[in-house]
């Protein structure tokens, strides 16, 4: 199970947070701060796995993260997930974002947090991996975007 997905930038500013277990808002911010603290002090050439992080769970949980340019993508998962598998999932997610936003950069995430959420919803649902096939994910996202567009046609036409 995935317990949380966090995206923040090199300064620890959250760009997307998705908790699959309830934490109050201030606790969420604590977790983001702590996770940022843990992740940011690590060199780029160390491993992508991190144990500990007292806030988010016991010894069964670990943080699996990747650093892309200005953004950190952090997944907090339990032992039922394969470490390398989650690394792949992050890659799939980022590549999907890249396709959907056409050369994604931090600004896309800043201004379209809702869209990023909708894409993530097609990848992970309630903490469980829903789809890993990028084409399938993109197809579903696009259909829903078209649906949205058709609804926002001027009201006069109705």
């Amino acid at each position: 199970m995935i317990k949380a997905i966090l995206i923040f930038n090199n300064h620890g500013k959250p760009r997307l947070i998705r908790f699959y277990q309830y934490f109050a808002e201030d606790m969420q911010q604590q977790i983001i701060r702590e996770t940022f603290h843990l992740v940011s002090k690590r060199d780029d050439n160390v491993c992508n796995f991190l144990e500990g992080g007292s806030l988010i769970g016991g010894s069964d949980y670990k943080l699996i993260y990747r650093h892309y340019a200005t953004l950190y993508f952090v997944f907090c998962v339990d032992s039922s997930e394969s470490e390398l598998g989650i690394l792949d999932l992050i890659q799939v997610f980022v590549e999907t974002l890249d396709k959907c936003f056409e050369n994604v950069c931090e600004l896309d995430l800043i201004f379209h947090m809702d869209k990023v959420h909708y894409i993530l919803q097609e990848v992970v649902m309630g903490g469980m991996v829903l789809e890993t096939n990028m084409n399938e994910i993109i197809a579903q996202v696009e259909v829903q975007n078209r649906l949205e567009k058709s609804e926002s046609l001027p009201f006069i036409l109705h």
């Binding site: 947070i17 690590r42 992508n48 470490e83 390398l84 890659q91 959420h117 309630g126």
Partner: protein, 1164 residues
């Protein structure tokens, strides 16, 4: 109306949308909070408008603010409004906001049930999808119960997009509403073979999550998963399945063997997949480490399977070697995963990992903390008597070097864990350990003072031989207390003083100079310590005082004793003024005592003996679980009312009376407690909330780091070199290294001596035996402890109940999901459906039918099938019973005949098992029954039948007594008994042996001799009869040869055997029948030709019943199962027809017992 819409959309043009909000926040970097608060005000205005578009826009902005840490729960109702919009665009916004900020205690969730149900059955698949996604984040037990049926219907939706989401969300539903698991499971299983790979993957995902916590319930799915594994093309599914098999193989060893081949074929695929992932991450070319990855995967697989396969140590050895190469690799991810895999091997094959100690120790120097922590974890399992000191020495070096308190604290706890594991098994020299603990107290800013303290106490209390040394060390520690308390920031470590003071006081007879220590304990600086430590100081100062007096006993010069009293009287007032009540109380009490003693001293009265008597007696360590294990004495029912509970009838009718009689204590009490409980729960919740909201509550640990670094070092603590020849009386703080050296010398000496002895032996006896000792380096057993150490075991109450069930966390939601899934569904197990409005629910007829199929038709089919099987089994069983009668002598002659299976089986049976009944003494006519007894194969007996004390409490144990009779003329020896465990029943094997090891029978059988052996089984469910297959292997020895023979048998656990004869009085019996909790059933026996009292005796004897009452040709009988089910019978006879009406609170059990009764009478 149209105007309104136009107006609304014009309004909207002036509203900020999400992008504007973000831009605004970025433009107001200086006064962000202020800007956001004005935005929130705007949003509140927008939410008040009727236009749903405006509302949705506002909610979208709120979702963004939520991410920044603003509580938006006040808008929960508006979010529900947006969720219920008919437009997908707004609905999606609403559900997103809900999934981000709703949780179980959000009260508006109650309002969403119908909306969600409507969305789930929406013709637009994306409406349904959005609802499912949202629901997966905020599903509550109520929602789960109300919607379980709707979601289950969606699992058969025509669109795979919906199917996969519905399948996945079922896991969340199971967690919140465990009752849904059994009804939904058949369909979930179906989805494993769904044509869509996404749905299949979701089903695998859910079952893997379920099976991870309760693997044994899913063992029956193994063949299906096996098929999936060989056919699936999805790497994700493969990884999940392999993980699942990892959990299943320990339960079913045959799986492991079967898996090896297909897995080897899969490796190439998985390796390509993994190497792609790593390729993204690492600059190294693919070829360079591709084979490493292949091995990594192979190893992970092997490890997960190895636990079920004992004879794979060679391949494990190979794995470990390859892992070594991985760990030595420069790629950090590989290194980490290598170590992770290593720790998995360690659990099953510790020996093979231990040889790579050097590598693991190297990893402790790695720059990456994750890798260091992994290595630490491994070290824990690698220590032995031989290398403990060395490893700990290395760790101590790291403690000194370590930066950052987290890692250092981790090191500290690991050192203590390593040393104290399995009851200090690996410590040969406790002096060394104490000095390690003392060294650890010098650690700056650790949070684990308490841990060190408890270790000191534990060792000093339990290892008697070490007390002299420990006391000396603790006295020095107390003397140097200012070093530990110098800085208020270092409060964590001053916990150690608690232990030091207590040890010095309690074992003060070992102190060299108690007077000095007493002085150290009464220094004014002590008053700055935390209250609970001061309290211990005061109490133990009194103990020390007593020791001083005692040591001065008989001494004509009483100045020391008087000095001691004076010291106490001078210093104690400081503690009397303490703000801490405990300290105050103890100090004033002791002060008065000392004052009195001083008076007596001045009169030259001997007081030491009386003072010492105050602290006489030894304190024994008590096991932490001792309290829980105190058995409940016979006749004490903790659930019974002490006073009669208030009857419900008196509530309204008697109210007028209450005016006169004022108070009715009976009435008010329970009501009062109820309020109390609610109140308590509320307060608890409030406290939790407060703690969660209080930033200081959590912040404390990580932020303190900086402060510590500024504190001065502790290098100037006086460290006195030890005189090596007299290690026991070391003044000052010794370095543990000295002990390492000492220990090595000692071991060398011992080894040398041993060699000498060996040589002598070899000279005397030139046999090959001596070689063993010489060949390898010293083995574990060779190392003797430095001095004889008697580790006192912790005390347990007498008659402590052996129970292992306290391991699991009761709060774990998966505990509720430990449900037997193979049992057919009962009619009562249906998901709640809204019945009276069923017509409204849109369902295609096909789906409808299918739904019924799952919930009602299938189980019926199954149960009838099962019945047939049962019948077959019974027939077979009767055969087996006879087979067991046949003598051993026949055996050999026809061993090779294989044509007719039945006959072969018959011949193979060489053993005669006889029912040996422990209830003989309950019944009169033993002789008559004996002959029938011989007919039964197996014997099950609830354990407590013999035991005087624990009986029904051991509801899961059954003892099988087997009589082995040798009917041939050869000698039988090395008999081994083994049973293939089923999910429900397991043979109890001695600790340390695997789940499939056989038990050695502790006797041999000369010709014509019989003997009895007893085996204990644990049984979970007792409501169904069970058969266990087993084998008995033995060696048949006669004069010329000895042959190895095998005998297969079956143990039949009838339901009757779970019943215990329990007497029951007729009034209690009547009450039981009236209670209405019992289900009834009945049978008829025709053509019974025996006197009624024989019939009853037979039921009593064979089925463990007792007669409650008998009137003419009618009798009531009672029995109770080991798990406390009541079984009541009413037996009537009229002209050869016996009718048995029975009642029991477990219908399945009852049915089976009745079947067995019927069978007993059909046999005669």
């Amino acid at each position: 109306m149209a105007l309104k819409i136009v107006k609304g959309s014009i309004d909207r043009m002036f509203d900020k949308n999400l992008q504007d909000l973000v831009r605004g926040i970025r433009n107001h970097k200086e006064d962000e909070a202020k800007y956001i608060s004005t935005c929130i005000d705007e949003i509140k205005q927008e939410l008040k408008q009727d236009n749903i578009a405006v509302k949705a826009n506002a909610v979208c902005k709120l979702t963004y603010l939520q991410m920044l840490g603003y509580d938006v729960s006040w808008a929960a109702f508006n979010i529900v409004e947006v969720m219920s919009s008919s437009k997908f665009t707004y609905k999606r916004i609403g559900y997103l906001a809900a999934s981000q900020c709703f949780h179980e205690s959000t009260d508006v969730i109650m309002l969403t049930t119908n909306q969600i149900r409507k969305d789930l059955s929406s013709p637009n698949q994306y409406d349904t999808g959005v609802a499912l996604t949202g629901l997966s984040c905020f599903v509550t037990p109520d929602l789960a119960r109300d919607l379980a049926n709707d979601i289950m219907t969606l699992m058969s939706h025509t669109k795979p997009y919906i199917r996969k989401k519905a399948v996945l969300i079922m896991y969340k539903v199971f967690l919140k509403y465990p009752e849904s698991l059994r009804p939904a499971f058949p369909r979930l299983k179906e989805k494993l073979e769904d044509p869509d790979p996404g749905v299949q993957s979701a089903a695998v995902n859910v079952i893997c999550e379920l099976a991870r916590r309760n693997p044994k319930n899913y063992l029956s799915l193994a063949p299906l998963f096996f098929k999936l594994m060989t056919s699936s093309t999805n790497n994700w599914v493969l990884i999940k399945i392999i993980k699942l098999f990892g959990a299943l193989t320990p339960l079913e060893p045959r799986l492991g063997k079967k898996l090896i081949e297909p897995l080897t074929n899969l490796i190439h695929r998985i390796y390509l997949f993994f190497s792609q992932i790593l390729h993204h991450l690492s600059a190294i070319t693919l070829v360079c480490f591709s084979w490493l990855i292949a091995f990594l995967f192979f190893i992970t697989v092997l490890i997960s399977l190895s636990s079920g396969m004992p004879n794979h140590s060679a391949s494990i050895q190979l794995c470990v070697q390859k892992l070594r190469i991985l760990i030595e690799d420069s790629d950090q991810n590989l290194k980490y995963l290598g170590l992770l895999a290593m720790s998995k091997i360690l659990k099953t094959h510790p020996k093979s990992v231990q040889s790579h100690k050097d590598l693991i120790l190297q990893c402790l120097d790695d720059k990456d903390e994750s890798i260091r922590l992994r290595a630490l974890d491994l070290l824990y399992g690698m220590v032995s008597k031989k290398n403990l000191m060395e490893i700990v020495k290395k760790l101590m070096l790291h403690v000194d070097k370590a930066e950052g308190t987290t890692y250092r604290d981790e090191l500290l706890t690991k050192i203590i864990d390593i040393c104290s594991q399995s009851n200090y098994q690996y410590i040969t020299n406790f002096e060394w350990y104490i000095s390690i603990l003392v060294e650890l107290t010098r650690l700056e800013g650790t949070r684990h003072g308490h841990l060190i303290a408890s270790q000191m106490l534990d060792v000093a209390i339990r290892v008697k031989a070490i007390r002299v040394f420990a006391v000396a060390q603790m006295a020095t520690l107390l003397d140097n207390a200012h070093m530990l308390t110098g800085n208020t920031q270092r409060n964590g470590i001053c916990e150690v003083l608690y232990a030091a003071a207590w040890i010095c006081g309690e074992f003060s007879e070992h102190l060299e100079n108690p007077m000095e220590t007493l002085e150290a304990m009464l220094r004014p600086k002590v008053a700055t310590l935390p209250g609970h430590i001061q309290a211990v100081y005061v109490q133990n100062a009194a103990k020390l005082f007593a020791t001083v007096l005692k040591s001065q006993e008989g001494n004509t010069d009483s100045t020391t004793a008087q000095e001691a009293s004076q010291l106490m009287i001078d210093r104690l007032p400081l503690f009397v003024q303490s703000a801490n009540l405990e300290v105050q109380e103890r100090a004033s009490c002791i002060l008065q005592l000392v004052k009195y003693i001083q008076k007596l001293q001045q009169k030259d009265v001997e007081v030491s003996e009386e003072v010492c008597a105050l602290f006489a007696g030894e304190l024994n360590p008590v096991a932490p679980k001792a309290q829980k294990k105190v058995p409940i004495p016979d006749g004490l029912d903790l659930d019974a009312w002490i006073n009669e509970p208030p009857s419900e009838s008196e509530s309204e009718d008697e109210q007028p009376k209450a005016i006169f009689s004022k108070e009715e204590p009976k009435h008010s009490r329970p009501r009062h407690t109820e309020v109390d409980e609610k109140e308590l729960a509320r307060r608890r919740e409030a406290r939790k909330q407060e703690q969660a909201n209080n930033p200081f509550y959590i912040k404390a640990s990580p932020s303190s780091q900086k402060v510590y670094q500024e504190t001065p070092g502790v290098e100037h603590i006086p460290v006195v070199q030890i005189d090596l020849s007299v290690p026991l009386k070391v003044p000052g703080l010794p370095m543990s290294d000295q002990y390492v050296k000492l220990e090595e010398e000692r071991r060398q000496k011992e080894r040398a001596e041993k060699k000498k002895k060996d040589k002598k032996k070899r000279k005397e006896k030139r046999s090959g035996r001596g070689k063993k000792h010489d060949s390898g380096p010293e083995s574990e057993e060779d190392i003797t402890p430095a001095h004889m150490v008697d580790i006192v075991t912790e005390e347990m109450p007498e008659n402590a109940l052996p129970s292992d069930d306290d391991e699991r966390d009761p709060a774990d939601p998966h505990k509720a999901l430990d449900i037997d899934l193979d049992k057919p569904l009962a009619d009562s197990e249906k998901l709640p459906v809204r019945s009276h409005r069923a017509a409204e629910v849109l369902k295609s007829p096909a789906e409808d039918e299918e739904g019924e199929n799952v919930s009602s038709l299938e189980p019926k089919k199954k149960s009838s099938k099962e019945k047939r099987e049962k019948k077959k089994d019974k027939d077979k069983d009767r055969k087996v019973k006879m087979l067991f009668e046949s003598g051993l002598s026949e055996a050999k002659s026809s061993k090779h005949k294989k044509k007719k299976q039945k006959r072969e089986k018959e011949d193979k049976e060489k053993k005669k098992k006889k029912k040996h009944h422990h209830h003989h003494h309950h019944h009169g006519d033993k002789g008559g029954e004996e002959s029938v007894q011989n007919g039964t194969v197996e014997e099950e007996e609830p354990l407590p039948a013999y035991d005087i004390q624990g009986n029904l409490q051991d509801g899961s144990q059954v003892v099988v007594s087997v009589i082995f009779e040798n009917k041939c003329d050869s000698f039988l020896k090395s008999m081994e008994f083994n049973v293939l465990d089923s999910l429900n029943s397991k043979l109890q094997r001695p600790e340390g042996s695997g789940p499939h090891d056989s038990l050695t029978i502790p006797f041999q059988l000369p010709p014509g001799v019989s003997n009895e052996a007893r085996f204990v089984f644990t049984v979970q469910s007792i409501i169904m009869p069970q058969k266990l297959k087993g084998t008995l292997t033995f060696i048949v020895k006669n004069e010329e040869s000895s042959t190895h023979e095998k005998l297969d048998f079956k143990l039949h656990f009838t339901c009757t055997s779970y019943l215990i004869t329990t007497p029951c009085y007729s009034d209690a019996f009547a009450k039981l029948l009236e209670s209405g909790d019992l289900k009834s059933s009945s049978i008829r026996l025709e053509g019974v030709n025996m006197p009624f009292h024989h019939l009853l005796a037979r039921i009593c004897f064979h089925h463990h019943f007792s007669v409650v009452e008998r009137i003419d040709s009618c009798a009531s009988m009672y029995s109770r199962s080991i798990q406390g089910h009541h079984v009541c019978l009413l037996v009537k006879i009229s002209s050869q027809t016996v009718s048995v009406d029975a009642k029991c609170d477990e219908p399945t059990l009852l049915g089976n017992v009745l079947d067995e009764i019927k069978q007993t009478f059909s046999q005669c």
